[in-house]
């Protein structure tokens, strides 16, 4: 949504969500990998990372890394998107990634995102508010 791969005013269809890059395609052994996702309209780089079950440790490691890299808090914005994850997305993810029921799980996951679209929209508006204090940082 932030990169405008999905419309922000209209609810996307399941196909649009399923066709997003990396959507429900991260194997369990790749959890924690930092992936470059694109550049937004303000030339900020956007990255995605799955924190996995040990969220606290992974997040702390990410902060530690950024600190070691010499980045300050105003240079980077870490958004926790888990707050918008509902039961349908969780069950869908479990079926697809853990049980191997990819077709069912992926669709259930996409359905959960469409159903909870309002939450993602609120999250996006908060991010854009927070971005006002952010300095542009290129790759």
């Amino acid at each position: 949504m932030h990169l405008r791969m999905l419309g922000i005013n209209k609810k996307p269809c399941l196909r649009e969500i399923i066709s997003l890059p990396h959507f429900d395609r991260t194997p369990a052994k790749s959890l924690g990998r930092v992936l470059f996702y694109g550049q937004d309209h303000q030339q900020n780089n956007v990255y995605i990372v799955s924190l996995g079950p040990a969220r606290q440790a992974t997040l702390s490691a990410l902060r530690l890394f950024l600190q070691a890299r010499g980045m300050q808090q105003k240079d980077v914005l870490i958004i926790d998107a888990l707050q918008c994850v509902n039961l349908s997305i969780r069950v869908g993810g479990f079926l697809s990634r853990r049980c191997g029921l990819v077709a069912l799980g992926r669709h259930l996951c996409a359905y959960g995102i469409v159903a909870n679209f309002a939450c993602f929209k609120i999250l996006l508006s908060r991010v854009e508010e927070d971005m006002k204090g952010l300095t542009t940082w290129r790759r």
Partner: protein
């Protein structure tokens, strides 16, 4: 910068201390003193080394995720000066570390960690 990480943090702390202070006596004393700072996943201890900083990190139940993060973040953001090393812990490490922090004279509690220190690790 060098990051040693392990599930409980004990092996990471011992490895980090051994890397900075080569003397096992000093390692044992500092280990008992510093381990209480590593009780929860995500906590870390920072040590000074003449060539840079050594971090001892408690990575929790899934150290491979932390390993993935350090590895790919280094690739994406070009941090070639950072090296993350996972150190395996011995049996019941959390309990042994807890007891050792209370009884620092009982060095046999951390014998397995002291034994597995790799002195051949180079600074990157």
């Amino acid at each position: 910068m060098m990051v040693f990480h392990s599930k409980v943090g004990l092996a990471a702390l011992v490895a980090g201390l051994a890397f900075v202070h080569k003397n096992p006596e000093v390692v044992a004393v500092l280990c008992a003193r510093l381990w209480p700072q590593l009780v929860a996943p995500g906590q870390y201890v920072s040590l000074k080394h003449p060539k840079g900083t050594v971090i001892c990190f408690c990575s929790g139940a899934k150290p491979e995720i932390v390993d993935n993060l350090f590895f790919t973040a280094g690739e994406v953001w070009g941090a070639n000066h950072l090296r993350a090393i996972y150190v395996q812990e011995g049996f019941l490490a959390k309990w042994r570390a807890f007891l050792f922090s209370k009884m620092p004279h009982q060095r046999r509690l951390i014998t397995s960690e002291l034994r597995t220190i790799e002195h051949s690790i180079d600074w990157k």
